[in-house]
């Protein structure tokens, strides 16, 4: 196949993936509403078809441009969507056996891809010399995996936690007004050091309220924490790999370029989040607020820095 045909194949596969994601998103939301296993199976199948098409879109793009398929924001976006959907199917559905969050994860993917095709599209071209380095493989893969996991943990799961938490609080308030307050069990951890509120990753005692379609708020809270804790070292590695690349390309590993600065800010926020959780015992809503701030910072690192702030990473264009 010629480069042009590969490029067309990529665009076709992109369209298939986007439509499949939209359909799967609708299917997942329908599953939330009606709770039919058939709906879930259907939505999941369509999501898998979309995922397959997404893979084709990414791979054929690589053949069209003769390079790694993450040379500009359009390609980065479709890869991000791919990883968020794959991460959702693997971690949330595969590992946690939670089926109800698919619509939200797919919504993120749909938005990312829609923005990509409407505002960021460029024809597949070979890399400009500034990007032509083997570090693009390492740095960008790490950055994209880290950011898709942050998007899943700090964005999707945290938002869902806040929704569910609000709902549970309301129900709890209703319960409290009817009955005497439930007795909460104390901790039996006698040896826990005082500065180590050791159960940062544990759900608290069961609150005994009707949960609705989402998993319990406490479960969502822990899921968000786990995904963020998983993303953090990957992001750290991405920043380090970026610094190594910067040393090779520009002769300095750190120069406070806007991209570097914002990836550092994102890193600092999530470092603060992990500290607050594991050593100061924050959880629930205050922790979620920090996670959301981190997610906003991630979005700035990705969209605002590339599109509006002038810096060394601007040469990549969109």
């Amino acid at each position: 196949m010629t480069d042009l045909q590969w490029g067309r194949l990529s665009n076709d596969a992109f369209n298939v993936a986007l439509f499949a994601y939209v359909a799967a998103m609708v299917g997942y939301f329908a599953y939330l509403a009606f709770r039919r296993d058939t709906l879930w199976l259907l939505a999941r199948t369509v999501a898998l078809v979309g995922l397959g098409a997404n893979v084709v879109a990414v791979v054929s793009r690589a053949f069209a441009a003769h390079r790694v398929p993450w040379g500009n924001m359009y390609e980065y976006s479709i890869l991000l969507a791919l990883l968020v959907v794959a991460g959702y199917l693997l971690i949330v559905e595969g590992f946690y056996k939670v089926r109800t969050l698919g619509g939200f994860a797919l919504m993120f993917a749909v938005f990312t891809m829609a923005i990509a095709v409407s505002f960021l599209y460029v024809d597949p071209l070979p890399l400009v010399p500034a990007l032509n380095s083997y570090w693009i493989k390492i740095h960008v893969v790490a950055a994209i995996s880290g950011s898709s996991l942050f998007a899943l943990g700090g964005g999707v799961l945290t938002t869902l936690f806040l929704i569910q938490d609000r709902r549970e609080r309301r129900q709890l308030a209703v319960l409290r007004s009817q009955d005497p307050p439930p007795i909460m069990g104390g901790s039996l951890d006698m040896d826990a050091p005082p500065d180590f509120a050791a159960d940062a990753d544990e759900p608290p005692a069961v609150s005994g309220v009707r949960r609705g379609f989402l998993p319990a708020a406490a479960t969502l809270d822990v899921m968000a924490y786990r995904v963020i804790a998983f993303a953090f070292p990957i992001w750290t590695f991405a920043v380090i790999a970026g610094a190594i690349w910067a040393q090779e390309a520009w002769g300095r590993y750190w120069g406070w370029d806007p991209k570097e600065t914002w990836s550092f800010i994102t890193w600092v926020i999530y470092a603060g989040y992990l500290h607050a959780r594991s050593t100061s015992g924050w959880k629930g809503r205050p922790a979620a607020a920090v996670a959301l701030v981190g997610f906003v910072s991630l979005l700035i690192t990705y969209y605002v820095v590339n599109l509006w702030i002038v810096g060394l990473h601007s040469y990549a264009g969109i």
Partner: protein
């Protein structure tokens, strides 16, 4: 000891306590993030001085305020340094006691429990072996799973076991490594420097203070130890696709030792630097360097390649469509002469632009030519790139193409071989025999890089156990129960409690089995962490 006066000692203790607290560290971290936000929104002097100047011209009042606050150089401002310093002092204040505590725990034997059945997890098993053998079996099981195990000191059949010190070790490694990064940054940036170098094809540049183009940016402890290393530019190539997208920029260089002997050849590209004697050499930019010869009555008075520069292209015009400018100064003539030159490397692009009015990118040289304007009078400024024409008289204008010679007084071409006539005043000609390129290289030295890289690797190594391992404690007691033994096991995990429930159940099963099995034969599956 009631005292309303706060002693120095007490206030120091208060400061130390405040610095030690996690809250202080988190607030400082947040301030660092906020300062960085400011630094990314306001243009920064070290990164883009021209944008800072434009900002100050556009917003004189706000600009002056920002300048006073150090917002144009956030990362070099006193308050940024203060925040960073406080953060690291706070970090050390947190780390010292934690490190001491860790060493203490690692030295100590796990402590026996008084009440075993009060723990979060607790199980009892009845096994046929006697208590001593049962406890031996449990000890083997725990040790095989990398628990640190201590027998009861009073001779009772009891064990205390711990696992997961790696979490704290990793966490401490992660945090201490940041101090190593700071040390590497201060050492590397402090003793290092970075500067720009212009080398024309066929010329050699030598590493010495005076040979840098403009100011070098040197660290505080830089002591001027330039190496004398040479860079000889054999050739420069810039290649483009038909769309005008750049494909490759490469400087073919010979790297020379201070005596001028060839050390090795190298191709310097974007992303592919060369290094010699601790210097990193990076491709930074390039430009045209036409060779201009001026003859007075046939005798050469100037024959140098001149570095030409471009004006920044206006919006919508490709940078490569812009012509290149240079200046030639002839101080030995009377009156002195200054010649402004405008180079069009691709004459086709020039013609096309004339016909269509559309700017055309000049991505390669094709029958290049220069327009020139002669000025007579006194040369007042020494700059190689500009000509102060305020005290000079404008003279001839003309065009000189590659390979041709033009009379500077008439602006008319001179036929080759035409003998210079002896008329007075003497005759001046300008020739354009050759068009070369020059390469702009960035030369920098940072001896701290290996240290910072090592520290970054330590950060990653420390991070993984700090996030993903958990501390677990287990106690075992064996009490006689008829002919056999009742094995009591209690325990808890400080993190990942749900996972530990499964691990604990398996542990108790293994202990019950090991109580009967003879030590040598036992084949235990070692569970993963």
């Amino acid at each position: 000891m009631p005292s309303s006066r706060v002693t120095l000692r007490q206030s120091l203790a208060l400061v130390w306590r405040t610095l030690r607290s996690m809250r202080t560290a988190l607030i400082l971290l947040l301030m660092l993030a906020l300062a960085s936000v400011a630094g990314s929104l306001v243009p920064q002097l070290p990164n883009s001085p021209e944008r800072v100047i434009r900002y100050q011209l556009d917003h004189p009042l706000v600009g002056a305020l920002y300048g006073r606050l150090g917002l144009f150089d956030v990362y070099g401002s006193w308050w940024f340094v203060l925040i960073t310093t406080l953060l690291f002092v706070s970090l050390v204040a947190c780390l010292l006691p934690r490190t001491r505590a860790l060493i203490r725990t690692l030295r100590q034997r796990p402590v026996q429990a008084r009440e075993i059945d009060g723990f979060r997890l607790y199980q009892e098993r009845v096994v046929p072996a006697d208590p001593a053998r049962a406890i031996d079996g449990s000890r083997r099981v725990l040790r095989r799973r990398l628990f640190r195990v201590a027998r009861d000191g009073d001779g009772r059949a009891a064990l205390a076991a711990e696992k997961g010190a790696l979490r704290e070790i990793g966490s401490l490694l992660f945090h201490w490594a940041f101090l190593l990064i700071v040390a590497g940054v201060i050492y590397g940036k402090g003793t290092g420097f970075t500067g720009r170098v212009v080398v024309i094809e066929g010329k050699t540049w030598v590493d010495a203070q005076a040979n840098y183009d403009g100011q070098i940016r040197a660290g505080r402890f830089f002591n001027g130890d330039f190496t004398g290393t040479g860079i000889h530019l054999r050739g420069f190539e810039d290649t483009y696709r038909r769309t005008g997208q750049p494909m490759d920029f490469v400087s073919h260089v010979d790297l020379l030792d201070p005596e001028g002997n060839l050390v090795r050849r190298a191709d310097i590209r974007v992303n592919h630097p060369a290094s010699i004697d601790g210097l990193g050499i990076y491709q930074y930019g390039f430009g045209w360097a036409p060779v201009v010869e001026v003859r007075r009555d046939g005798e050469l008075i100037a024959a140098e390649p001149l570095t030409f520069v471009q004006d920044t292209a206006p919006e919508g015009v490709p940078q490569l469509a812009m012509p290149w400018h240079g200046v030639l100064k002839l101080p030995s003539t009377d009156p002195q002469l200054g010649i402004q030159l405008e180079l069009w490397p691709d004459s086709r692009a020039f013609l096309q632009q004339l016909q269509t009015g559309q700017p055309v990118a000049m991505i390669q040289a094709f029958e290049p030519f220069m327009r020139f304007a002669v000025f007579r009078g006194e040369l007042t400024d020494l700059s190689q790139l500009s000509l102060d024409t305020s005290v000079m008289r404008a003279g001839t204008r003309g065009i000189v193409g590659a390979g041709t010679t033009v009379d500077l007084r008439t602006g008319k071409p001179v036929e080759d071989g035409q003998a210079p006539t002896g008329q007075a005043p003497s005759r001046l000609t300008i020739a354009f025999p050759e068009l070369r390129q020059y390469s702009v290289l960035q030369v920098s030295r940072d001896r701290g890089v290996p240290l910072v890289l090592l520290a970054a690797i330590l950060v990653l190594i420390g991070l993984l156990p700090a996030l993903y391992t958990s501390r677990r404690k287990v106690w075992v007691r064996a009490e006689p129960n008829g002919s056999g033994t009742i094995l009591k096991v209690g325990g808890f995990a400080l993190q990942r409690k749900t996972q530990f429930e499964q691990e604990f159940a398996k542990l108790v099963d293994a202990m019950a089995r090991a109580a009967d099995a003879p030590a040598a034969k036992e084949r235990e599956r070692v569970d993963s962490l």
